[in-house]
Amino acid sequence: MSTQGPPSYYRLNQMALSNSVRTAWAEFASWTFILLYAILFGTHDPVLVEQRLHVTADTIGALFVQFFGGDAGEKLSTLLKETVSGIARMAEAYRDNNASEVLAQHEALYRQADEMAALFSQLSRYWDAGEMQAMLYEIFSDIEKLLVSIAAQDSEQVIQLYDELIGQVYKLSEELVSGLAQKLQF
């Protein structure tokens, strides 16, 4: 057995996979950021931004299809689209001062995180449901705090939170890539 690690061919494949997963999740964070501005400040048409986020949800789902089949990819894509809609409804409710709707969407968002974590852990033993849930909670918590900071025009907080959000989605991406690489034994 070689002690020099996997051949460069495999390392390159893992890098391509890592780039695809990180790019898709970074897009998810970027377009969510843009969606919040669109809803709160009218910088874009929020419906079009939401549709663009659905494309990202499909991209992330498609990455899973090749490893776990069409049903798993479809389920993940659907959960992400529901998440996007929930974030949009929450931002609208926050803008409109509708506290009960904000709370309802907050609860729905965390239920979706639970479902996503459960899905990941069903797909691979590598992904622990509790760890995945904690990472998704961090991401959704950052998005909620971003919403509040953007609405308050607290620039320093917005900058700090968006950097944190990008860091969190990269952390999740690396966890996903490690699990996918184990499956393929890169």
Binding site: R11, L12, Q14, M15, S18, N19, R22, T23, A26, E27, S30, F33, I34, Y37, F41, G42, T43, H44, D45, L48, V49, R52, I150, Q153, S155, E156, V158, I159, Y162, D163, I166, G167, Y170
Partner: protein, 185 residues
């Protein structure tokens, strides 16, 4: 040097690729935030500019690891000028000053050319013409994004952002390829 909290091992292709892609995606995100700030008064402009300066530091820090602090500083200064000219471009679009828009566009192209020249002298795997084209494309897509946001052509502005991001990733990957080739032997 630390890139967003983590050390970059010059010989780790994945870490290098991640770091370069991160600085470019940060660049696109915060330049877009600057458009919103100037056009819609969404933020304190100074805070966004401070974050963009950090982005220039992160960018330069990666190159300093390979080529030394003097080169890193030169690239940082050029990148800051690039950011400043883009900020001027947004402001002139807001003011609808056609002459000033043209002046800043020309200044951006000159900076793109200079960046291409400096980078291509550092690494034989970075082609000057290809780097220039990539940087010109970033300028074009960024200008498209400004115009479509001003005109509230939202579908086109989404497409422009996607193209800008794709070009930023392509530029980052070109940098990664060159660094890996030059320093992996």
């Amino acid at each position: 040097m630390s890139v967003n909290g983590g050390s970059v091992n010059p010989l780790s292709q994945a870490a290098l690729s991640n770091a370069l892609r991160r600085v470019w995606v940060d660049y696109v995100s915060w330049m877009t935030a600057l458009i919103y700030t100037i056009m819609f008064d969404t933020h304190d402009e100074d805070a966004i500019e401070v974050r963009l300066r950090q982005n220039a530091e992160d960018y330069a820090g990666i190159f300093a690891q390979f080529y030394g602090d003097a080169v890193g500083e030169k690239l940082r200064a050029l990148f800051v000028q690039f950011q400043e000219e883009m900020a001027f471009l947004i402001q002139e679009y807001k003011a609808n000053d056609i002459t000033a828009i043209s002046d800043h566009r020309q200044a951006l192209y000159a900076l793109g050319k200079e960046l291409g020249r400096v980078l291509s002298q550092l690494n034989p795997y970075w082609d000057k013409a290809s780097l220039e084209v990539g940087l010109y494309e970033i300028i074009n897509q960024f200008e498209d994004e400004i115009v479509h946001i001003i005109k509230q052509e939202f579908e086109q502005s989404i497409q422009a952002y996607d193209r800008l991001l794709a070009q930023a990733y392509q530029t980052a990957d070109e940098m990664t390829y060159g660094l890996q080739r030059q320093f992996s032997s």
